[in-house]
Symmetry: none
Subunit: 297 residues, 2 copies
């Protein structure tokens, strides 16, 4: 696995990978005929774990010497904070369907949950925790790339159908949803849209990876009230803050800027003029705030 592939896979920049090797003696990639780094799979797995722990506030020098098992244990310790046993049991049931040969059951299970809970609760209480469970299982190597892709695809199918069925043509406010250019993950965006649409907002999603200048252009020419950005846990927090600050400066002041997702959680202090969305319920709160502020007219 080349250094560029590892960067894509782990979210650690090439510079960081090289400087870790120099400073901490890990990772220790072999070299190809051309002298370029080749990372073995198990080191990439460990890097993914480390990355996850960095996001949780650990520091590299502390954990980089630990084995994969020890890292998983630390991750576990971070986990068992607030686990509702009943809910976790239901997650485990769905999680075991995230297998290639059980895809039909996954689809059925998701559909049933959607019918039972309704769109908003389905997103907040089933999809969001399931997302996390899948992410963690992937970090621990319990599920692999095709299964994670399969999961993403099926959830996308369900959410897009449901959004289409609930869409209102001319609701207010008008919200433009998208992500920054190097953010591929779309589920956060779809979850936001699925939460907003039943509230009567008029959402337009541009999908992932829209250049900053184009976001601005679209927001202005489409006369949107709000621009919503989604950041997955894999997105570099620094880049998110910089990009958001730049976009905020570029947008007219009458267009609000909302940002949600793991990479911006707790960054409200550094993002003046931007509404940081804490979780899915907070999305609804933010919407109510907007409506209250604009009801006076």
């Amino acid at each position: 696995m080349s250094i560029a592939a590892v960067e894509r896979d782990t979210g650690l920049s090439k510079d960081t990978l090289r400087v870790w090797e120099r400073r901490y003696g890990f990772p220790t990639p072999s070299r190809d005929a051309n002298g370029e780094r080749l990372y073995p799979q198990e080191q990439v797995d460990k890097l993914r774990l480390i990355r996850r722990l960095l996001d949780l506030g650990q520091r590299p020098s502390r954990i980089i010497g630990s084995t994969t098992l020890e890292l998983s244990a630390i991750l576990e310790a971070h986990r068992g904070k607030d686990l509702n046993p009943e809910q976790e049991a239901r997650e485990q049931v769905l999680l075991q369907y995230v297998r290639l040969h059980r895809s039909a059951e996954l689809v059925t299970g998701l559909h049933q949950a959607l019918m039972k809970q309704g769109l908003q609760r389905f997103v907040a209480e089933t999809i969001a925790p399931l997302n996390e469970a899948v992410g963690e299982a992937w970090m621990r190597g319990e599920i692999d790339v095709p299964e994670e892709h399969l999961y993403t695809e099926q959830v996308q199918n369900i959410l897009r159908s449901a959004i289409g069925a609930n869409a209102v043509a001319s609701g207010h406010p008008r919200i433009l949803l998208t992500t920054f250019p190097d953010e591929h993950h779309i589920l956060g965006l779809l979850m936001a849209e699925a939460t907003l649409v039943p509230e009567g907002a008029s959402c337009l999603s541009l999908g992932t990876r829209t250049p900053l200048a184009d976001i601005r252009g679209a927001a202005v020419s489409g006369k949107f009230d709000i621009v919503g950005l989604s950041f997955s846990i894999a997105y570099p927090a620094r880049q998110a803050v910089d990009g958001l600050t730049e976009l905020r400066a570029a947008l007219p002041t009458n267009i609000e800027l909302w940002a949600g997702g793991a990479a911006v959680a707790g960054k409200q202090r550094r993002l003046p003029g931007i509404r940081v969305i804490g979780d899915l319920n907070d999305t609804v709160t933010a919407l109510k705030e907007w409506r209250a502020a604009h009801a006076a007219h």
Copy 2:
């Protein structure tokens, strides 16, 4: 503007920006107190133009010396190349709905077409030509990134809903659909799925960007009969041929390999053992061939 900001904004990597400065003498950023590059706004604008032209097939050394005005002129020249008046007129009718402020009409129009034509004809007769028209309009600079994204999203919504409504749990053959790692375009995949599902095939899509080794693993462990790959016009033909050859060698012989899309069109001769799908109708043909060959049992 720092080098990281320019990378975000133009999509040109830091390495590329530095090597251009060294080789061509452009851009010429000033330095801050810390010796780090600071790009003036007008050079960033020019870099964006250059980036645009690179996507259109120009080469850096040819255009990097030109002024911003000259670059705009070249971009103009790329527009009205070989326009068949009749065809262009038809495209324009379809294309006028792909505007940010007309997204509601686009959705309505697509829905009506789907209801009128049925899923398979909708894909073959509406989506496929519209795809091409959008692609060409984008090449000519008549629509921009947000509009192309909007189009992709809306078509995705419709196709995914329709596929979900038509899916058969236990049909035959079992088909695994995905793309190679550097292929982001998903519409080809969805179009294939939408064509196959009404025929009673059991399709499972992994979405885009699945590593080759994982495609093989998924095909084997999921006991699929056929693996289908989609290649957009932007995918390098050479890479498609090499990747397919490698995958063919890695797959068991009893799993068929199908490849469709602009990048593999007409490459059947170089792809022994692989079924190259010419167009959407050919997808159905290939399916019938498979069934005929496996009916004997």
